[in-house]
Amino acid sequence: EDKVVQSPLSLVVHEGDTVTLNCSYEVTNFRSLLWYKQEKKAPTFLFMLTSSGIEKKSGRLSSILDKKELFSILNITATQTGDSAIYLCAAVFYNFNKFYFGSGTKLNVKP
């Protein structure tokens, strides 16, 4: 059965801390892994990872995919209160006809 598992489910840190969010997947015909940030209703896109071992960066956020071990991590350095959100990862089928979402990690960054 296809599945995506995220950990931890929730996390409380203080501003300035560095956090690592985990996403493991077991998906047949895997193509890509996506990370999203959800603050209110609509998730907003962060990263798409297709190749193993290539880090993607955007400001304080970075992410990498390991297709051998079937997981991805999302790192956030020097966290800010604005980083408080639910972070979702999704595994994408090869022909983009299905996206499997994990349960999400709820991050709370305290001042």
Partner: protein
């Protein structure tokens, strides 16, 4: 990127009634999906909206409860029928563009409360 307009953004409905949610995209897209996100939960795929044919439903979701239309490549509707309080959720429309290795874009979501 695709710009998605989803309406209504929220509604409070009486049990036993139906609500239709609209999703309009500013460009032609290949895939359109409808998700449900119950309180404290992740996104659960309801169905894939197929242009000009019946939607493809995931396990646990049926057409009688969640009829979906997609008359063209830029528009889809999801109806939540005969609502009960258990249908209170956020409903999200999502699209995948026509390019290679494109991410999924989301509408603003509809927060539904059934009383």
């Amino acid at each position: 990127s695709a710009v998605i307009s989803q309406k209504p953004s929220r509604d409070i409905c009486q049990r036993g009634t139906s609500l239709t949610i609209q999703c309009q995209v500013d460009s032609q897209v290949t895939m359109m999906f409808w998700y449900r996100q119950q309180p404290g939960q992740s996104l659960t795929l309801i169905a894939t909206a197929n242009q000009g044919s019946e939607a493809t439903y995931e396990s646990g979701f049926v057409i009688d409860k969640f009829p979906i239309s997609r008359p063209n490549l830029t528009f889809s509707t999801l109806t939540v029928s005969n609502m009960s309080p258990e249908d209170s959720s956020i409903y999200l429309c999502s699209v995948v563009g026509a390019g290679v290795d494109t991410e999924a874009f989301f509408g603003q979501g509809t927060r539904l409360t059934v009383v």
